[in-house]
């Protein structure tokens, strides 16, 4: 495949107001292989939370693309990203989801590694009759190329040749701040991680979360349920629907950022039902009226490619991992402000479960739609999608008034209504996608070039 083959999949002609995406990006096996190698295994991806591993020797296990990894805090508190594969024969060294271990011992021949990934034992090394050749090799666990955090969110890259995390995240960091600063003590993980798969391409999920246009038609049965509920009493934990989603006077918008990230946001129809509203006086006094307003807003942040920080019904971190062109694994975490009142926490839990869970009232409909989209474009008779143009006539290059007020630099900004359902929000994601794959294909040898570099 040549760089021109990637160009051929995105019909991007800003001068003509054109932007189309070819169905091949959702279904071709060779595209999927490139995405895994050069996007998921060649650039920054989210791997875990610092607050999951607060103490020396705490660890969690995850995957970067297809590769199992251990995220481990060593005796001195430093976090390491270690390839979870024994140097002896390649077995997974640590099968536990998380825990605290000073040493990780391979179950096969008992090679042992400390919490910094250094090899500390090759059993019976003295009797092995090794020659000097053996000592020439480092026996420690392989390391990821880079591992860095922002405010407790740990990202890693197998490829060391990436820009620093701070540059990669850019002003999406303001959206992290809007979550973390909801408590003076930051966030905590609510127990109960949920993992599920859907039968569709991974990009469908990240696009869907930025797609305001689908909300009413896809989730009409959920909206009907909310509409039938009696107005909430102050101690109710569930959302009822006092104002309609399509109200036009509510401020809404979308931002795109370099490296493929985006944020869809909007004033909340029922701010008084949000969990943080329970403790509003304390929070607002600490962060100020403008920030608190944004904390109550609905905010769906994508950090391309695998991380979403969503606040529609409580705070969710949603991580996607592609398994095949037509199969994706989603892992979901409920994160919450530390120290919030019990009524706020219960309200958060019920709203979160009802909206976000794959066993709730909204996400199952999205999953069914992803399946329908994947099945509907199974053959070459389906070529160009027309779903990437809404809002283009109102797109601003750079920050608009709302972005300036929030204090973020953007690539593009759109002031929207719920009925508009801006679709230009997807453009930066595809431009980053195209740039990463083209860069990889244009590189000499097998190593990817600087990953994550946006096109423009």
């Amino acid at each position: 495949m040549q760089p021109a083959d990637i160009d051929a999949l995105i019909d991007d002609r800003p001068q003509d107001g054109a932007f189309r995406v070819h169905a091949d990006v959702f279904r071709r096996q060779d595209i999927f292989e490139l995405e895994m190698k050069h996007i998921f295994e060649g650039g920054w991806v989210f791997v875990g939370f610092e607050f999951q591993i607060p103490n020396p020797h705490d660890f969690l296990t995850t995957r970067i693309g297809r590769q199992p990894v251990i995220v481990s805090r060593d005796a001195n508190g430093q976090i390491h990203g270690l390839i979870n594969s024994c140097r002896h024969r390649g077995a997974v060294v640590c099968e536990a989801i998380s825990g605290n271990r000073k040493t990780h011992v391979c179950p096969y021949h008992a090679w042992a590694y400390d919490s910094a990934g250094r090899n500390i034992t090759v059993p019976n090394e003295g009797e092995a009759a090794y020659t000097a050749e053996f000592a020439r090799h480092d026996h420690g666990l392989r390391r990821v190329g880079r591992i860095e955090s922002y405010r407790g969110f740990i990202f890693a890259s197998l490829n060391p040749n990436v820009v620093p995390l701070a540059e990669h995240l850019g002003d999406t960091r303001v959206f992290f701040d809007l979550a973390v600063d909801q408590s003076p003590d930051g966030l905590e993980l609510v127990p109960g991680t949920v993992t599920y798969t859907f039968d569709g391409n991974w990009k469908m999920q990240i696009e869907n979360s930025a797609d305001a246009y689908h909300f009413v038609p896809t989730h009409v049965s959920y909206l009907q349920i909310l509409g039938r509920r009696k107005p909430s009493k102050p101690d109710d934990t569930r959302v009822s629907f006092r104002r309609t989603y399509l109200e036009r006077d509510l401020e809404r918008g979308s931002f795109t950022f370099p490296y493929g990230h985006n944020a869809l946001w909007g004033a909340n129809e029922n701010p008084e039902l949000r969990a943080i509203y329970v403790d509003r006086d304390k929070v607002e006094a600490r962060v100020g009226a403008e920030r608190f307003k944004w904390m109550l807003y609905t905010r769906n942040l994508l950090v391309f490619p695998n991380f979403q920080l969503l606040e529609t019904s409580g705070l969710q971190v949603r991580i996607n991992r592609p398994l095949a062109p037509n199969k994706t694994e989603i892992t979901t975490y409920c994160v919450a402000p530390k120290g919030e009142s019990k009524i706020a926490r219960v309200r958060r839990l019920r709203q979160y479960e009802e909206f976000y869970n794959p066993s709730g009232l909204a996400t199952p409909d999205d999953m069914a739609i992803f399946d329908a989209c994947q099945t509907g474009q199974s053959s070459e008779w389906v070529d160009w999608h027309q779903g990437y143009l809404r809002g283009i006539g109102q797109m601003t290059r750079g920050a608009n008034a709302a972005a300036k007020k929030l204090g973020v630099e953007t690539e593009t900004s759109v002031a929207t209504t719920a009925a508009m359902g801006d679709e230009t929000i997807f453009h930066s994601q595809y431009r980053a996608w195209r740039a990463m794959l083209k860069s990889a294909l244009g590189a000499s040898g097998n190593r990817p070039q600087l990953a994550g570099r946006a096109a423009e």
Binding site: Y222, R228, E353, N357, L361, D371
Partner: protein, 167 residues
Amino acid sequence: MTPAEALAAAADVIHRDALYLDERRWDEWLALYHDDAEFWVPAWRNENEPTADVESEISLVYLSSREQLAERVARVKGGRSPASSPLPRTAHAVSNLTATPGDGEREIAAQAVIATHIYDVRRRETHLFFGRAEFRLVRVGADWKIRRKKIVLMNDYLSTIVDFYTV
């Protein structure tokens, strides 16, 4: 109430619970539940422990009244939810049933192993959810009503939709 009587009463209600779901007799199914019925499917904290506290941990489903179950039934009946139209065909198997009478004549605690076979007619695929179910039944007039149904779902790497009719 003897243990045998408790077992017979529990079996009748629990088997109807399964039957009515499989036959989509939604109103009869709802009528098995107490007004204040809890319907709970915990998530998992780690490899070994399901979540145990609905006020501080995530559940896959936690509903605390028959009215909330009725909302889900209305969603299924309404035909506007892509996830449940068309509905999968299901067969709810219940086995290893034990029951213990409690609180005089008014309560029964029961446990069972459940296996729900799900056939997705759209994709012609079969799925299986299995786990342990715990029931608390209370007497209301002449009837036994389900006051609580808790399903600890063992295979929580979810490959299809989890809802009241698929577990």
